[in-house]
Amino acid sequence: MGKIVAVTGNEACAQALKQINPDVCAAYPITPATDLMQRFSGFVNDGKVDTELVLVESEHSAMSACIGAAAAGGRVATATSSQGLALMWEMLYIAAGTRLPIVMPLVNRALSAPLNIHGDHSDGMGARDTGWIQFYSENAQEAYDNTIQAFRVAEHLDIRLPVIVCMDGFIVSHSIERVEYIDDADVKKFVGKFVAVNPLLDIDNPKSYGPLILTDLYHEYKRAQHEVMTRVPKVVLEVAAEFEKMTGRRYGLFETYRLEDAEMAVVVMSSAAGTTKDIIDQYRDRGVKIGLLKPRMFRPFPFAEIANALKHVKAIAVLDRADSFGGMGPLYSEIAGAVMQMDTKPAMINKIFGLGGRDYLPDQAEHVIDELITLAKTGKVQAVKEYIGVRE
């Protein structure tokens, strides 16, 4: 049984990194992730970890140094937010394409312009196609647990891919919550020894990393990368099962809440799921058959499993904390893709909420559920995509 503490999401993630003791971390400050690596730097300078900390001059260099370090053959982590992730964009593809198991907490924050430091998922969604595995966490406990599990998934010999672990900026990163820490020795045992694959530092067996691959083989390389992604769900579930044995806390590819007999569903990720669950309880008390689906693993997206979980609902509202301007919300597009595989298609609406840290309040959830009730009855979609919580 671990220790119960009152900590912020950043503190919990820093603790996870401390317990994991990566060989190299490269870091660059950005709100709201700054505090995470700042705490970790304290662990380095107090000799609590063996990590070699590389305090780079930009996030582009942070990811470049992580790539060099991971290729060298050891455990590597960094953390960032928003503009920092955007600056890494080029290197994110290279980390994934090179199959390097780097773990990166991403404290979700809006993207400029206008400049805004508060939480939304625009940054993570911008990295959707980079080839990184992505987990989204509802609270500090999940951020802590996901960070620990992320190393196992990233470093799994069938996978060897980088993993992003998201938590909502400020809402989770800076709020003090009850978190149950796992004992140091248990984390160490759970994560295990790092196994290097083709390390650059194997001096006697020199390897070349980063070749030029043109039209004759690039397509095949990318197909291979796609195939690795298809192996991820099984590994994520195996790791989660082991994690549950250790902690009693259960994780899947997604979480469902009162969904089994529901006629309507709200799909939403991260901290907003908590608020939504409370409102669902209120409607359930009034006999409304509403449930929730909260994706945990956004990449790879578990289409078949989600379709199966939603197959009995008549209407779905997908809440996106990011927008694809001129398109649908990114989560909506994925759910629509999943729903396409179902025999009967539910009516679907997309709500864009909470951009730049705009509070997601109970009345927003209520409005969404009220609309779902009508939608389930009529089957008629008024507006597919709509912003909610907007000041007119």
């Binding site: 070699e52 260099s61 991971a70 530092l201 390897k207 004759d216």
Partner: protein
Amino acid sequence: MTTKPLKLRELAKGEDRFVHGHRMCSGCGAPIVVKQVLMATDYPIVASNATGCLEVSSCIQQFTAWKIPWIHSAFENAAATISGVEAMYKSLVKQGKLEDRNVKFVAFGGDGGTYDIGFQSLSGAMERGHDMLYVCYDNGAYMNTGIQRSSATPFGANTTTCPAGDVIPGKLQQRKDLTKIMAAHGIPYVAQASPANWMDLMKKVQKAFEIKGPKFMNVISPCNRGWRSKTNDAVALARLAVETCYWPLYEIENGVTKITFKPKEKKPLVDFLKPQGRFRHMFNPENEWMLKQAQEYVDNQWERLQKEAAFFGGEEKAEEK
């Protein structure tokens, strides 16, 4: 480990760590530079490489010309990438997870990947004090993408983005003096070298590898495609660059400037410019001012360098003729 003797006969018998089969243009200076750097030492070396001619031509699919561990990740980050490799080495050795074999870390980058887009990453890595040597092979333009201007392109040169046009006759700015900028970082060793003076170059590499911390070497690297010169004149042009004092050979060790080779007789700059088609327009009568300006700049720079070296006690006599 003792520094190995630089005897041609011995060196020729040594094992190449950058081998034939790469697809650089015939007569390119860059592979010569790489070979000389790697040949100068028997230490184990791990290298990173910025995107550019050297990188795209030396590792294609399953074929690699590198007999050492080598990593290319992107264009602007050879320094950051190798800094990560070096940090991992340090960490693993410190934790007893890896045997300390005195591995040396080298980054290779073209002038574009070093003076321009990779400048921030280079500056950062040098300031952080990684134990690494950065080698810039300076061919004075973005050659890989088809000879575009960089901040290392010499004054007057005709490139595809600063063509010698009817109104603007080539590049109107002088080169960025990166060697001096790197010296201003206060790092323990900075040097400028030329593959024509191979002994001088290799000695500098040897010296760099005996110094802990960040080191930078700027090496002129003729490119017959971009310089519009003959395919058999790379070494001759690299020599003329030195003899005209366009590319002086010097080093700055712990802040002390030393000229490592002083030509007996300083040749006029036109000797270096004339064989290169990229400067052809400068020889048109209306562009005489360009030749004059180019010569003045070289004279001033050379004068300054000599003064700096004199301040610290002069220059070393050349050991090779």
